[in-house]
């Protein structure tokens, strides 16, 4: 057998091993109840509840922003983001959070917003037209 083949085989075995390890990092979405049960850092996706309070008062604490999220199971929970309120947060619909339960609240360290920003103006436009 050629050395190159040996190297290739070692690489393949290594690759399978590492990919197997890497796959452990792949996360699945959790619900709030699972987050409570596990107490670990999880990813939660849900809908922003626009009717409920979104609190950000930088004069008190520039790293505290809270809002309410409804997860896939329909459970509502107060979410605390330890950071500034993102620009145009109100326009978001789907929110993906990384964080964990702390007391009653879900404390998020990362947040990804899905906002229909691309078509936002068009919606406005349609509203103007219909109104």
């Amino acid at each position: 057998m050629k050395k190159i083949h040996i190297v290739a085989i070692i690489m393949i075995i290594l690759a399978i091993g590492v990919l197997f390890m890497a796959s452990n990092d792949i996360a699945t979405y959790s619900s709030f109840s699972e987050a409570v049960a596990s107490g670990k850092k999880v990813k939660v996706a849900g809908q922003l509840i626009k009717e409920k309070e979104m609190y950000y008062n930088p004069e008190k604490d520039p790293n505290y922003f809270s809002f309410y999220l409804r997860d896939v199971e329909g459970l509502e929970k107060k979410v605390v983001l330890l950071g500034a309120k993102p620009q145009d947060f109100e326009l978001s619909e789907q929110v993906v959070l990384t964080g964990k339960i702390n007391g009653e609240d879900f404390v998020a360290s990362e947040m990804l917003l899905k906002c229909p920003s691309k078509y936002k103006d068009e919606e406005e436009f349609l509203m103007i037209q219909e109104g």
Binding site: V7, D25, I26, T28, K43, P58, P62, F125
Partner: protein
């Protein structure tokens, strides 16, 4: 239904444009088929005919696409909003310089940009590829055919093929507006324009570079296909290598520009975030680099030809994969900058499957005839180490793609009605870094040691000792430098130390080989630049990544129970109040507006242990407002650059009222104003009750004094105009618990063409907002009827007594100089000089009597100080007797102001500031790598290839 005859549309451009796109599509197919036949019949006399047809097809294709692009620019520049693409990407206020950015902002435009580069490359290849022209151009024309389907915009029943940039807005949506025949005129005000985030020069240079990079991968791909097809497995290697170097250079530069944009102009807080969109353009580059290495091996030794084929085919396929991921909407959940779904998924899928199966087919057909040397390469040959390095790059690509493709697994599972619900790792950056650091370790090792070795080395013995000594010295140097580096930056994990060691090792080894082994041979230069650059880049990544430090954490506000990543990253800076954070004294000193940008000046002073400032600089992070100035569209950072580190800062938030006009209004509406009556000179106390909890309240007492009425007040937002009635009240306000702090304010009210404007005074320190009421206005500016004029008749030099004043009619002044009087022809105007005297006071007024068009008018005059109003109402020319209406207004004393306590501060910013040490190493390293490709390309191009 009656057809509406629309007016103001420019349909001809759309019709021509659409025709050209279809023509280009057909021509690319024609060209591909002809070139296919030309390749098949390359050894017959039909060859030249087929090739001529192929060329013709490609030229028609190229001209059509170029003209279509020109037409799109034409309709964009002329702002024909009836076209959907124009409506979505252009707006009235879009500066000309951003028209290119607007063009490639959308999917259709970026497809056209990609095709544009393919055409340019194709034309160059028609002239330069010689015997390779037919198979190479077959590939390019074929790929153009597939990309062409994306912009076709043809409908067959329910089947929609592609999305055309020429589509009319009224064909995309059924809006009531389209019932009007002149709807076009109304579109301008709604046009979206270019996303303000993208309105900077990076958007002008990054996409075309990146797309040229994407497009360039087609050339090595096509040469690989050509080699497999013609079974001429050796000769294609030379031209392919040059194009692969070109691709490595341009694609790498394009990716880097993206990183530089993210770092410099966007508030991403870094140059690389392992975002899927970034990853999927990095991976084809890595594979291209792997291909360059195996290509070098195969040119020098004859080994690795198959792997070279594989890498070049794979690189382009991965570009198509990247396109599919970013444009199909699959990434939606995991990436910040993917396109939205446009119904192109199936077409993209067919495209990539065609590339994959086409490549597999070619390899099956071609591989059996690939030659390879009888003798096996030895362990200490250069080719062995280079080949292993290529496999490491492949390995890196597999790992990155594995995680980036998570959304794809979900998508595939969902096709089988199975919901996997997988998502990217909780800590994506940690995840990628922990595997990729091993890649860096191996690359460092292989690229360092590999330099000392020779191709086709079958007898290392004679050189072994020398090499061991050199490797040993480089290792010692690397250990020493690694140690010194740990004095500068914190590197704790052993994996990172190892990574740093090998980075230094490859830097020294490459330098050593360049200087001592090859004695400055210019052909060693590209390799040196690329590999030493890689090492320097790795050090830069370690320094800036591991040691990036938030300056903006307030040590006093930390919630001690939380882990590190949950500590606050932002600080609140109140205007002119310095804050001491992490060795800096940071002060927000003010803001200024230039166009749509609002710049916030932040002063940084470095403080030593004694409390002395030894270094000072200003940064001006800014907020970009939308075109109507009602809302902030984006925050842009500002960075202080040192040789050894960067201080990066951006605005994380502004007071609600400053970032959004609607919020400002909501805040103003939520304020609870109370009316307070006050007299001039009077000291008045007023209270405010602050509800803390439902059961407890806190009563604040304030003191107010009005010191002066100002009829010529000034305010930074007020620009005086003729005819304004402006009033300011000078007041002194204090909070009773801190009586020594007196705030002198001057709220203002202005009447301009019968509208009232308020200029309130905001006292941030005690959260008070004060505005004047209309009662104050009417108190100071009484209406004519309220004044109570009395009539008097005067003869010249006659005096009367009025309220204790002596008023004398001193005579006429023919030179009428009344401020409100504008002379017209035929006017008969005269002013009376009225003198008013009282002990110590002596003043005069000149009211005007005027006959214009046979009608009498009068223009009043006043003596402001004593409140006198004069109206010259009648004149008897025969006797010289006049009638004068006189009123004296009592000085205004009773004022009213409205006060809102607990008003919102408007004088602060929320700032994030990060220190990136060693970031310049990253840029230097990456630029060196790119130079490596460029120099290699230039050296190989200058050499006359046999």
């Amino acid at each position: 239904m009656k057809e509406i005859q629309y007016i103001g549309e420019h349909l001809i451009f759309g019709q021509i444009g659409h025709f050209l796109i279809v023509l280009a599509f057909v021509a690319s197919l024609f060209s591909a088929i002809s070139y296919f036949m030309a390749t098949q019949k390359r050894n017959t006399n039909q060859f030249t005919t087929w090739r001529a047809m192929g060329r013709l097809g490609f030229v028609v294709h190229g001209i059509s696409i170029m003209t279509a692009i020109a037409i799109i620019f034409h309709i964009m520049l002329n702002k024909y909003y009836e076209y959907s693409y124009v409506f979505q990407h252009v707006s009235e206020d879009l500066p000309f310089k951003y028209i290119f950015s607007a063009f490639w902002e959308g999917q259709e435009g970026s497809f056209l940009l990609w095709m544009f580069w393919h055409i340019i490359l194709g034309v160059i290849l028609i002239f330069s590829a010689k015997k390779w022209e037919s198979p190479v151009l077959f590939c390019i024309a074929g790929i153009q055919f597939f990309i062409g389907t994306m912009i076709l915009g043809l409908h067959f029943g329910d089947l929609k093929i592609g999305s055309s940039p020429m589509v009319l807005f009224r064909d995309t949506a059924a809006l009531p507006l389209f019932a009007k025949e002149d709807y076009v005129l109304q579109l301008a005000q709604f046009a979206d324009g270019l996303n303000p985030l993208l309105q900077n020069y990076w958007m002008t240079i990054h996409p075309p570079t990146l797309f040229l990079g994407f497009a360039s991968t087609i050339v090595p791909f096509s040469y690989a296909v050509a080699g497999l097809w013609t079974k001429d497995h050796k000769e294609w290697l030379s031209p392919a290598l040059k194009w692969a170097l070109f691709s490595g250079f341009i694609l790498g530069t394009g990716i880097l520009m993206g990183g530089a944009w993210a770092y410099e102009a966007l508030s991403f807080g870094g140059y690389w975030a392992w975002d899927p969109v970034e990853n999927t353009s990095l991976v084809p580059w890595l594979i291209m680099i792997a291909g360059v290495h195996t290509n070098l091996i195969s040119k020098s030794t004859g080994y690795s030809i198959k792997t070279t084929y594989l890498f070049y085919l794979l690189s382009f396929i991965l570009i198509v994969y990247s396109t599919t991921l970013t444009r199909s909407g699959v990434l939606g959940d995991t990436s910040v900058h993917a396109f939205t779904e446009m119904g192109l998924e199936n077409q993209l899928l067919i495209f990539i499957l065609a590339c994959v199966f086409g490549s597999i087919f070619m390899m099956i057909k071609g591989f059996p005839s690939v030659p390879y040397p009888e003798k096996e390469e030895t362990f200490f040959s250069k080719e062995f180490w280079m080949f292993t390095g290529s496999l490491v790059l492949l390995f890196s690509s597999i790992l990155i793609t594995f995680t980036t493709s998570i959304p794809v697994y979900n998508k595939v599972a969902s096709l089988f009605n199975y919901d996997l619900g997988l998502t990217s790792p909780l800590e994506p950056i940690t995840h990628y870094n922990k595997y990729q650091l091993w890649i860096a370790v191996f690359i460092g090792l292989l690229s360092g040691v590999g330099q000392y070795l020779r191709y086709r080395e079958f007898n290392i013995k004679g050189r072994a000792k020398k090499i061991w000594i050199h490797v040993g010295v480089c290792s010692v140097l690397a250990i020493a430098l690694s140690y010194l580096t740990t004095l500068w930056i914190e590197v704790n994990a052993w994996q990172h130390l190892l990574m740093m060691f090998f980075a230094y090792f490859t830097i020294f080894a490459n330098l050593d080989v360049l200087l001592t082994f090859t004695k400055w041979n210019k052909h060693q230069l590209p390799s040196f630049l690329a590999h030493a650059g890689f090492g320097i880049m790795v050090i830069g990544i370690l320094a800036s990544g591991l040691n990036q430090k938030h300056i903006s954490t307030n040590p006093f506000a930390q919630r001690g129970l939380l882990p590190d990543d949950m500590l606050g990253k932002n600080v609140l800076l109140i205007k002119d109040s310095p804050m001491h954070i992490n060795g800096y004294k940071v002060t927000y000193t003010g803001d200024s507006i230039v166009d749509n940008m609002r710049y916030f000046k932040v002063n940084y002073q470095k403080i030593d242990k004694m409390g002395n400032t030894y270094e000072e600089f200003n940064l001006t992070p800014n907020a970009l407002y939308n075109s109507k100035f009602t809302k902030i569209a984006a925050y842009n950072p500002s960075t202080k650059r040192y040789l050894t580190k960067d201080i990066f800062s951006h605005i994380a938030g502004l007071p609600p009222g400053e970032s959004d006009i609607e919020e400002a209004k909501a805040k103003e509406d939520s304020l609870n104003y109370r009316m307070i009556d006050i007299r001039i000179g009077e000291e008045l106390l007023f209270k405010d009750t602050l509800q803390i909890t439902p059961d407890s309240a806190y009563v604040k007492v304030f003191k107010a004094v009005v010191t002066e009425i100002n009829k010529d007040p000034e305010h930074e937002e007020y620009k005086k105009e003729a005819g304004d009635l402006a009033l300011g009240l000078k007041m002194k306000i204090s909070f009773i618990e801190k009586p020594e702090e007196i705030y002198e304010v001057e709220p203002m009210i202005v009447v301009r063409s019968s509208l009232i404007y308020h200029y309130p005074a905001q006292i941030n320190e005690i959260a008070l907002k004060i505005k004047l009421t209309e009662k104050t206005l009417s108190e100071v500016f009484k209406t004519e009827t309220e004044l109570g004029y009395q009539n008097f008749d005067f003869t010249r030099e006659q005096s009367i007594n009025f309220n204790g004043y002596k008023i004398t009619f001193e005579g006429f002044d023919k030179e009428t100089k009344h401020p409100d009087y504008i002379e017209e022809e035929g006017d008969i105007a005269v002013s009376a000089v009225m003198r008013v005297e009282k002990d110590g006071f002596d003043g005069s007024a000149k009211p005007v009597y005027l006959i214009r068009d046979n009608s009498p008018f009068n223009l009043k005059d006043q003596i402001q100080e004593e409140g006198f109003h004069f109206r010259f109402t009648k004149i008897d020319p025969s006797t010289g007797k006049i009638s004068m209406s006189i009123a004296q207004q009592a000085p205004a004393k009773d004022f009213q102001f409205a006060v809102a306590a607990n008003s919102y501060r408007s004088d602060y910013i929320v700032l994030e500031a990060i220190e990136f040490p060693g970031i310049n190493l990253f840029w230097i390293g990456t630029i060196m790598m790119m130079l490596g490709f460029l120099v290699a390309l230039l050296l190989r191009s200058s050499k006359k290839v046999a």
